[in-house]
């Protein structure tokens, strides 16, 4: 489900509620209007009916009171025929002359003549009046409503006739209506109900008596008869009901009025119509009111809740994105005040906690870093006594501890192992893995096996239990410093750069082998090359070539090569410093993304071996001396040392030339070698002459220089000026070895 904004949800809900309220209020109003219409119409029609009934009653009373007035005087002689004439004017159906005792001596009803009134239920009811027990009575009796419906009713009129006799007149409906219709007919002629409504008077049989037919035709309904049964079926008396006459709906009400129905109708449309307008206006006002309320509530909600929630949310978003210094300040009301304070307090305590944790973490990282750094050789120069190798390395971790490492160490006097490596991760896990890799490689390399075996074995060991799925890229080389032979392996690492003595740095073009600690059975191919004196090798990790500037562009291999060739730095430290400077200039303030590790090796040459063989003759010695001087000078011996070497050479060579070959002249061989590692030069003089061990020569007597033999003097000087002397005689050869150490730095 799509999540909507609070304001939208609120607006929708509010709109829904408003619509329901509107609908309910309209319905309610409609019901109220119906109710009011019914009520007012009922009231209106009731009063109409009342008036009408009163009118009918009045005329009926008037018409039937007249016999009473007429019969105030009673004739003395009573006969049937006289009375027939007399009562004929009352137009009654029957008349009865009743004595006090209820006997009926005279009547036009032959069935009752001479009988007692008690024989007729209609007449019997007035027994108390006949007997004089009741003296106060209404002369015209009301038509009982129950009888009215049956058409068997009679209008009874009782009149006092003389002192002790009564006359009862019976009017059947036919005679009754004959008496009254004409009177009642005028009652509704001139009255209308509302605009289009009207009153009517109907006979019990449904014949409309009033208004008169002519008047009735002007009313917009044209019916001439209304079925009285239908009216009665619709409703009880004095109740409002709806009736359809000629297709028009009317509100109607009827009542019985002394033998007649009074009916009053008003078109429903007329009543409702006026109220419809009221209702429309009211509905419109309700709608208007709701709209205003809606807008007001909506804007209030927006201002008081939605806006504040947005402010809080924006603050929270900022906090989530890492800015814990964000404060939320919504102070409009108590609730938001509490919320703001709550969030601020939470963030503040969180910040404190993070601060403490990060300080602790920093300390641990710092410790880890110092352990890691101390695990790598970091005292420079590392081999101050050696001048054949100049090595410098640096590692600048991106985070506190990195996965990069370098290492270098001698496994014996002649073999230097050096490497740079990069563990495929950062942080503590990478550092731990790095320590493991470094230790394994070093211990394997120190056993003196070939570089291939070192890496194949290291790979196998590192592959075991490598749960972290880390791997190492590395470049490792083993340099024989005596002859410059370098064997190396590139396991997925950056290609190093080699600078030959007289050339520029160029990338080693070899294809790299697979990384270490990934697959335990991949082959590694050792490569070989020979370093000459002055050659330099630069190793690095991808932190160098992939350093970025602030535009995110990589430093790159080409730029690295150019940086290295910018100036021809002689020492390893300077080579690294040049690259570091170039990197710093390039990346400026851009953050360092990876460990930056570099290692430079400058090979200052291995053991130099030269030799010269001449005839053992004075004429040849100049050549030998020149050779010796040249070799020593090239190895950086100073003039003082050269002078001493000159003396040594002269003493020994002249001795051989003059004394070694008393008979046949032989050869004089001079071998020179220099080991930059030890800074020792050796001069070996070989002859095939008579065996002669100069070391056996006694020390000359300087007390009496004048008197002593001069023979010991030369050997004395040789002993004095050389650092070591070794003599041996093998088969036919005198071999005298002189060691002369270089005292000055090259």
């Amino acid at each position: 489900m799509k999540i909507k904004k609070l304001s939208t949800v609120f607006r929708h809900k509010l709109l829904k509620v408003s619509a329901i309220i509107l609908l309910c209020s309209i319905l309610l109003m409609f019901a109220a209007v119906i109710f009011v219409v019914r009520l007012s119409t009922t009231e209106m029609l009731k009063s109409q009916i009342g008036e009408l009934r009163d009118g009918v009653d009045y005329y009926s009373e008037f018409a039937f009171n007249s016999p009473n007035n007429y019969l105030e005087t009673k004739p003395d002689v009573l006969t049937q025929s006289e009375l027939d004439d007399y009562f004929h004017i009352f137009l009654a159906t029957n008349w009865y002359y009743i004595e006090q005792d209820g006997s009926i001596p005279f009547t036009d009803d032959s069935t009752m003549r001479g009988k007692n009134a008690s024989a007729d239920p209609e007449l019997a009811q007035f027994a108390d009046i006949y007997s004089g027990k009741v003296t106060d009575f209404d002369s015209p009796q009301e038509i009982p409503s129950a009888d009215f419906q049956s058409e068997n009713w009679k209008k009874l009129v009782i009149c006092r006739y003389g002192d002790n006799s009564f006359v009862v007149l019976k009017y059947a409906p036919k005679e009754y209506y004959h008496m009254l219709d004409a009177v009642v007919a005028r009652l509704c002629n001139f009255e209308s109900v509302g605009t289009n409504g009207s009153n009517m008077i109907l006979r019990q049989d449904g014949v409309i008596i009033s208004p008169a037919a002519g008047v009735r035709d002007k009313l917009h309904y044209a019916s001439s008869t209304v079925d009285a049964e239908m009216l009665r079926a619709q409703s009880a008396e004095n109740n409002l009901f709806l009736v359809t006459l000629n297709g028009t709906n009317y509100y109607a009400m009827y009542a019985q009025a002394d033998g007649y129905y009074t009916l009053t109708v008003i078109p429903r449309a007329e009543v409702i119509g006026s109220l419809n307008a009221v209702m429309s206006i009211t509905a419109f006002l309700v709608l208007l009111l709701l709209t205003v309320i809606f807008i007001r509530i909506n804007s209030l909600t927006k201002r008081l809740i939605v806006k504040n929630i947005e402010t809080v949310n924006n603050g929270l978003a900022e906090i989530t994105s890492g800015n814990l210094d964000t404060e939320i300040n919504v102070r409009d009301n108590v609730e938001f005040n509490q919320l703001s304070d709550g969030i601020n307090a939470t963030v503040s305590s969180l910040k404190g906690y993070i601060q403490r944790e990060s300080e602790r973490f920093e300390q641990e990282l710092e410790l880890a870093r110092s352990i890691q750094t101390s695990a790598m050789p970091n005292v420079f120069p590392p081999f101050p006594e050696r001048h054949d190798i100049d090595i410098f390395a640096s590692m600048k971790p991106a985070k506190q501890v990195g996965g990069d490492f370098y290492d270098f160490f001698f496994i014996d006097d002649a073999h230097l192992v050096f490497l740079t490596a990069d563990v495929s991760d950062k942080g503590i896990p990478a550092a731990l893995f790095m320590m493991k890799a470094k230790t394994i490689i070093k211990s394997l390399a120190q056993s003196g096996i070939s570089v291939e075996n070192v890496i194949v074995s290291a790979n196998k060991i590192l592959c075991e239990d490598n749960n972290a799925d880390m791997f190492v890229t590395l470049w490792i080389g083993i340099l024989n410093t005596e002859n410059g032979e370098l064997s190396y392996i590139n396991a997925g690492h950056c290609k190093p750069l080699l600078r030959r003595t007289d050339g520029r740095f160029e990338y080693l073009p070899d294809r790299a082998d697979f990384v270490v600690a990934c697959e335990d059975d991949v082959p590694y191919h050792g490569k070989r090359l020979t370093l000459k004196k002055g050659d330099a090798l630069f190793l690095y990790t991808d932190g160098v070539s992939e350093a970025v500037n602030k535009d995110g562009r990589l430093f790159g291999e080409e730029r690295l090569k150019d940086a290295l060739n910018k100036e021809k730095s002689a020492t390893a430290k300077n080579i690294c410093a040049t690259v570091s400077t170039e990197l710093r200039v390039y990346s400026q303030d851009a953050p360092q993304t990876d460990d930056i590790t570099m290692l430079a090796v400058v090979y200052n040459g291995g053991i130099i071996r030269e030799k010269i063989m001449v005839d053992a003759d004075l004429s040849q010695l100049a050549k030998v001396y020149a050779f010796i001087e040249k070799q020593f000078a090239e190895c950086g011996f100073d003039s003082e040392a050269l002078a001493e070497i000159g003396i040594i050479a002269d003493e020994i060579c002249s001795n051989i030339v003059l004394y070694a070959y008393p008979v046949d002249k032989g050869k004089l061989t001079t071998e020179f070698s220099f080991n930059p590692a030890t800074e020792e030069a050796s001069l070996v003089f070989i002859d095939n002459g008579i065996p002669f061990n100069p070391l056996n020569t006694p020390v000359p007597d300087f007390e009496n220089a004048e008197a002593r033999k001069e023979g010991g003097l030369g050997i004395f000087l040789v002993r004095k000026l050389s650092d070591r002397l070794e003599y041996k005689y093998t088969k036919t050869q005198n071999i005298l070895k002189i060691i002369k150490k270089r005292r000055n730095a090259p």
């Binding site: 010695l621 003039s639 002078a643 001493e644 002269d650 003493e651 220089a705």
Partner: protein, 98 residues
């Protein structure tokens, strides 16, 4: 090795430039003999001498013995390795080194 002769008021100065070893010792020997024929006092200036080996020492020794009582051999401006050799071999106390 080069030997330059210089006549001064009361002596002859031999300025030796180069190395005094087996190969050049005879040259100095000849020069000294010639010098002592010309003068009783001979000064050997070793300022420009790179080194001296026992062969050179022997030549100086021999000359010293030869002129003893007749003339005077002076060694001057010995320095560095040369002086060191003279001193360590005892020649400095035997020869006249100025």
């Amino acid at each position: 090795m080069n030997i330059t002769k210089q006549n001064e008021a009361d002596k002859l100065v031999l300025l030796i430039d180069g190395k005094l070893d087996t190969l050049t010792a005879p040259q100095l020997d000849a020069a000294l003999r010639e010098a002592f024929e010309a003068s009783d006092n001979v000064e050997v200036n070793l300022e420009k001498l790179a080194y001296v080996s026992s062969a050179g020492l022997r030549v100086l020794h021999a000359a010293h013995k030869r002129v003893k009582g007749k003339g005077r051999l002076e060694i001057s401006h010995a320095n560095g390795t040369v002086l060191d050799v003279f001193e360590s071999t005892g020649f400095s106390s035997y020869l006249t080194i100025i």
